[in-house]
């Protein structure tokens, strides 16, 4: 068997310069320390993205976008197509888990300060990938054309319209008209299955190339160890095999969720019914949704939601550019300003999310 591999390797090496590629894969080593577990979060996110691509392609075989066909085709997938319910349920659960792991990955990178020089652009591409993943969630949410999706899209696109100057035309372009209609569905479908996959794949490739080229970040404590006490494992094959093992565990959890808590479809969207009581967005938008709920109609002379939207926009921008912000910490401080900001962000997100589900 090994002989065959060697032959293929030689055949390819005679024709292409494979050494650079081999070096890129083989040179990396992964530090082993107390917080090594966080190194796996990005890999799990990537794995779930591939699950999304594969189940998404399967759903495309039966899904028909349109005001009179979207809901019906998803219902058909769930009731007539063999294992259709499972594929759709996996797609929905995997989407949620992917965002969860992307958040875990982001905050672990944040708190270990792995975004600092020389990995600033890895952070930026990672942040943009998360933003695209959220756009995936938002656009995909509408596609079954059910009541919850309809109002979530109405509110979400209306929020875009709040942004001064560009907001209103952008809203009309997104909706394909003044209101959320079948035209919106067509646009969201195109965005969800063509535009976003292309853009996210491009960002992921760049992100992974950066990671592979620069290697894993080592925390301060690990860096200060004497050389002989630093333990590493090779990225390939040791770390990759551990990664795959974790993917299997995540896949099992995903299947259990999809089988025992199948994703519901709910009633079909009707533009002429009242928004149902208890309407909520996806959990990852909940903290923003809840914040908007708390804002009064007017703050000074500005509409409340405008303040909210601009606030979140600026906070997101600052978060993306975090590696470039020069912080000056006092020498004796117990906790750095960066860590304090991170802790505040985590607490804010958790508290507002819980309030969103309990109030």
């Amino acid at each position: 068997m090994g002989n065959y591999f060697n032959k293929i390797d030689k055949w390819l090496s005679d024709r292409y310069e494979l050494d650079a590629l081999k070096e890129l894969i083989m040179h990396k080593k992964v530090p082993v320390h107390r917080h090594s577990v966080w190194y796996y979060m990005g890999g799990v996110t990537l794995f779930l993205f591939t699950v999304q691509v594969l189940t998404g392609i399967l759903l495309l075989l039966y899904y028909k976008p349109g005001e009179n066909s979207s809901y019906e085709s998803v219902r058909f997938i769930m009731t007539h197509v063999k294992f259709g319910w499972l594929i759709r349920s996996i797609h929905s659960w995997s989407a949620n888990l992917m965002i969860l792991f992307a958040f875990l990955h982001m905050f672990s990178v944040f708190f270990s300060r792995a975004y600092e020089k020389p990995r600033e652009l890895t952070w930026v591409t990672g942040f943009l990938s998360l933003a695209i993943a959220l756009a995936f969630g938002f656009s995909g949410y509408l596609l079954p054309w059910n009541q919850l999706a309809f109002f979530a899209t109405k509110v979400g696109t209306e929020i875009v319209g709040v942004v001064p100057i560009i907001g209103e035309p952008l809203k009309v372009i997104l909706r394909g008209g003044e209101d959320v209609t079948g035209a919106t569905l067509s646009r969201f479908f195109g965005i969800h299955v063509a535009v976003l996959p292309l853009v996210l794949t491009a960002f992921l490739v760049i992100h992974l190339l950066f990671v592979q080229k620069q290697g894993m970040h080592e925390p301060e404590k690990f860096k200060s160890l004497p050389e002989e006490k630093k333990k590493y494992i090779p990225f390939f094959p040791n770390f990759v095999l551990k990664d795959v093992l974790l993917w299997l565990v995540v896949f099992d959890v995903l299947l259990m969720l999809a089988v025992f808590l199948p994703w519901e479809l709910g009633p079909k969207a009707d533009p002429f019914t009242a928004a149902p009581a208890g309407i909520k967005p996806e959990w990852y938008f909940m903290f923003m949704f809840q914040s908007l709920k708390f804002l009064p109609a007017y703050i000074l002379f500005l509409e409340g939601e405008l303040v909210g939207v601009l606030g979140f926009g600026l906070a997101g921008l600052a978060w993306m550019l975090f590696p470039f912000i020069p912080f000056k910490n006092k020498p004796g401080a117990k906790i750095s300003l960066q860590a304090a900001i991170g802790i505040f962000a985590v607490i804010y997100i958790i508290v507002l999310t819980i309030l969103g589900y309990t109030l």
């Binding site: 372009i173 002429f272 009242a274 908007l292 939601e305």
Partner: protein, 141 residues
């Protein structure tokens, strides 16, 4: 001499390049903006029989492209208002328990005259006129 020639050619190419970019982008952006669909303006709609409408209940009525909320109060009076919440455009409902108009999306409240009384809505709901002609409910602008 050759430097000026190079500069000249670069300028021409630059202008040509910008022109081409514009010629590509203009139709592209125009294509993205959806065309306006003109619809006949609706000035009144019939909303069913008045005696069949229970007190302290509501219905969402199609008024052209706009949703209108028609409420019969506990006193048997009819009220018609725009059903689009002025906050983020969700469709409002009548809360029998509160005797007020409520938006489920962000907890906005309006009184029966459409006045925004609590929560995030920045403006009142637009009022429509309701007439009863031979027991038929007619909503007009």
């Amino acid at each position: 001499m050759s430097q000026t020639r190079r500069k000249f050619i670069n300028t021409i190419l630059g202008i040509g390049g910008l022109g081409s970019l514009g010629a590509i982008l203009y139709p592209l952006v125009s294509y993205l903006i959806p065309p306006k669909i003109t619809e006949a303006k609706v000035n009144s709609v019939k909303a069913g029989k008045a005696d069949k409408f229970k007190d302290n209940s509501y219905k969402i009525i199609k008024f052209g492209r706009e949703p209108v909320i028609l409420i019969k109060t506990v006193n048997g009076n009819f009220k018609a208002l725009s059903a689009t919440c002025t906050h983020l455009q969700c469709i409002v409902q009548y809360r029998k328990d509160l005797k007020e108009i409520w938006c489920a999306c962000h907890n906005g409240l309006y009184d029966l005259n459409g006045k925004n009384i609590s929560g995030p809505p920045p403006r009142p709901l637009k009022q429509y006129d309701v007439k009863i002609v031979k027991d038929e409910i007619i909503i007009t602008r």
